[in-house]
């Protein structure tokens, strides 16, 4: 006790400058968020300006909703919003089903092989979009592609010009998306699944439950909150798409735009290839605002249904 008094007064004395150090530490990170995240939020107002780089962004005149009128003049806006939403819906449904299936299968595997499977199904997740576009090209190239040369030709079928036929791309892109992402989400579901108490299954078997019944009445209910969380997160990103998947994998091919153009690729092309800042900023504005509304909506909905699984 004797020692306590001087020590505590000492710390008290030091508390001021010490705490300042903690506040100072936060500065670089917060500064970065300000530049990288908050300034662009205010920049959303550019959607109501006619941007002219020569007079400067801030001096450019306000034009009300002209950019939005201009955006909806062509059918492009409708197509990119439709594509983005439809792809996301397909990705959510198929991605979730595949990931849960793989997680259940992984749950049946013993140690040694488990590591092999886990390691290999995660490999596609590590690849860059650039490399994935090369893999796709190796399969789909008209002249040298594996599918045309080694599958269709031996079967006596005509070569398909994959990169000029938009009809195939919803399927191609879905396969590539699933291929790249299923390992990652399977591991997430698997992590929840291994936490399920074995005694549930043992009891079920004694009661004569079939495999399907065990999955339906034990596994899936235990995965429920993980499923809800992951689906809600994805739902909140309905207006966003993987830019690389939709831009680089189809090799920015104009012939494929009808099925590969999403909001992100449209915004990029308008901004940097067509120099059409007006349309681009209007589409981007809608994406940001609708995306935000959707996140809040999805979260509110989850809160109502199942409070514990709400994100915030």
């Amino acid at each position: 006790m004797k020692m306590a008094t001087p020590t505590s007064s000492k710390t008290k004395h030091r508390k001021g400058p010490k705490n300042i150090a903690l506040y100072l530490l936060m500065i670089p990170g917060l500064l970065y968020l300000l530049i990288n995240n908050y300034l662009p939020m205010f920049g959303l107002s550019f959607a109501f300006k006619k941007i002219n780089y020569t007079v400067g962004v801030f001096e450019s005149p306000w034009v009300g909703i002209d950019n939005f009128r201009y955006l909806f003049k062509t059918s492009d806006a409708y197509i990119v919003f439709r594509n983005t939403i439809l792809y996301n819906l397909v990705f959510i449904v198929l991605g979730t089903v595949l990931a849960i299936t793989v997680a259940i299968l992984l749950g049946q595997i013993k140690k040694r092989m488990l590591r092999v499977y886990q390691t290999s199904i995660l490999i596609p997740y590590l690849l860059s979009t650039a490399v994935i576009s090369y893999l796709a090209f190796a399969f789909l190239s008209m002249d040298n592609g594996f599918i045309n040369n080694s599958i269709l030709e031996p079967l006596g079928m005509d070569a398909v010009g994959w990169y000029s036929a938009p009809g195939y791309w919803p399927v191609i892109l879905t396969i590539i998306y699933l291929w790249k992402s299923f390992g990652y989400s399977s591991i997430l579901y698997y992590a929840t699944l291994i936490g399920i108490d074995d005694s549930y299954y043992e009891a079920a078997v004694i009661d004569g439950a079939s495999t399907w019944q065990q999955i339906k009445f034990i596994t899936l209910p235990c995965l429920k909150s993980t499923i809800i969380t992951l689906v809600v997160i994805h739902l909140g990103r309905m207006f966003y798409s993987d830019f690389g998947l939709f831009y680089q994998v189809p090799m920015n091919n104009g012939m494929l735009y009808s099925t590969t153009n999403t909001i992100d690729t449209y915004v990029y092309r308008s901004l940097l290839q067509l120099n059409d800042v007006g349309r681009s900023s209007a589409a981007g504005f809608l994406q940001s605002i609708l995306g935000f509304v959707l996140v809040l909506g999805a979260n509110t909905l989850t809160r109502k249904v199942d409070k514990e699984n709400a994100l915030f």
């Binding site: 917060l30 968020l33 990288n36 490999i123 190796a138 040298n144 080694s150 591991i187 596994t219 901004l271």
Partner: protein, 296 residues
């Protein structure tokens, strides 16, 4: 584990073995293509068992292409520097947010979290970086936008500090007279290697694989291209270049020649470092996914 003799043995093994093959075979095809003789490639296309092997593509890369080495060097540089800065900034922001004595930490945490819900998107970001900060055609273009710090990782790391670093240990260090910075470096960080590893891995992978910053901000300085930019550029320009080289005659310079085989070889070269590192970090990578996974 679901109990059923049939399901527990044959079906999972078969399906997972097939999925494993589906994940690995495309990479094998790519690798084989890079080792295939150019003539064979043109005649038979890409195949898993080419008739004639050749190292010509790799010889070309090592001999003729200084540009590929430079792009490679730039990718290593931004990955190492970017990941280091990312880890430091994430720790510096996450640690104070985990300390109860920091006033206003919840407000700051919300400021961080909010960026995950709402974003300005590409147009304002691009205009800010290119018009105001003038980072176009500089190395900062590859380092700064998007990847320097992830708000998600900040929240993740703050939660880790909160739940895994006992308050008593931090207090004890301070009573011993250690400064805040010393406490962080000597006491807290040595106990936090899993989360630092996770953040580092995610950041390193993001920098190594990124090609979008180069696409947006490198307009004239193609000498600053990362290896991923070289790859995407080559694929998109392949057709254009094919005709261009035919008209100009032979010209060994990056972006003019690359034959199909050489392009595949460059893709393999871009992939190799990831594939070499991956087996060593596989375990912590899986752990990282699970930690970061569902909720921050």
């Amino acid at each position: 584990m679901i109990t059923n003799s049939r399901l527990s043995k044959i079906i999972p093994q078969t399906v997972l073995a097939l999925l494993t093959l589906a994940c690995l075979l495309p990479l094998l095809l790519l690798t084989m293509a890079s080792f295939t003789d150019e003539q064979t490639l043109i005649q038979n296309g890409y195949s898993f068992l080419p008739q004639k092997f050749s190292l010509a593509s790799y010889e070309y890369i090592f001999k003729a292409s200084e540009a590929i080495f430079r792009a490679y060097g730039i990718t290593f540089f931004i990955t190492i520097v970017g990941t280091f800065l990312n880890i430091v900034m994430t720790i510096f922001l996450a640690y104070p947010l985990s300390r109860p004595e920091v006033k206003g930490r919840n407000v700051v945490a919300f400021i961080v979290f909010f960026t995950m819900l709402f974003s300005g998107g590409l147009v304002p970001t691009y205009i800010m970086y290119s018009q105001i900060f003038q980072i176009r055609d500089t190395i900062f273009a590859l380092l700064v936008p998007s990847f320097l710090m992830s708000p998600f990782n900040v929240i993740l790391m703050r939660n880790y500090f909160k739940t895994n670093i006992p308050e008593e240990i931090v207090e004890a260090a301070k009573l011993d007279g250690a400064s805040e910075l010393k406490t962080l470096l000597r006491v807290v960080l040595p106990m936090s290697s899993p989360i630092i590893g996770t953040v580092g891995l995610m950041s390193g992978l993001a920098y190594w694989n990124d090609w979008t910053n180069g696409l947006y901000y490198l307009v004239k300085r193609t000498d600053l291209y990362s290896i991923q930019n070289v790859l995407t550029n080559m694929l998109n320009n392949a057709q254009f270049l094919k005709t261009a080289t035919q008209m100009q005659g032979v010209n060994i310079e990056l972006g003019t020649i690359p034959s199909v085989g050489i392009r595949m070889a460059i893709a393999v070269v871009a992939l190799v470092p990831v594939m070499i590192v991956y087996p060593f970090i596989q375990k912590s990578f899986v752990k990282g996914i699970v930690i970061g996974g569902v909720k921050g």
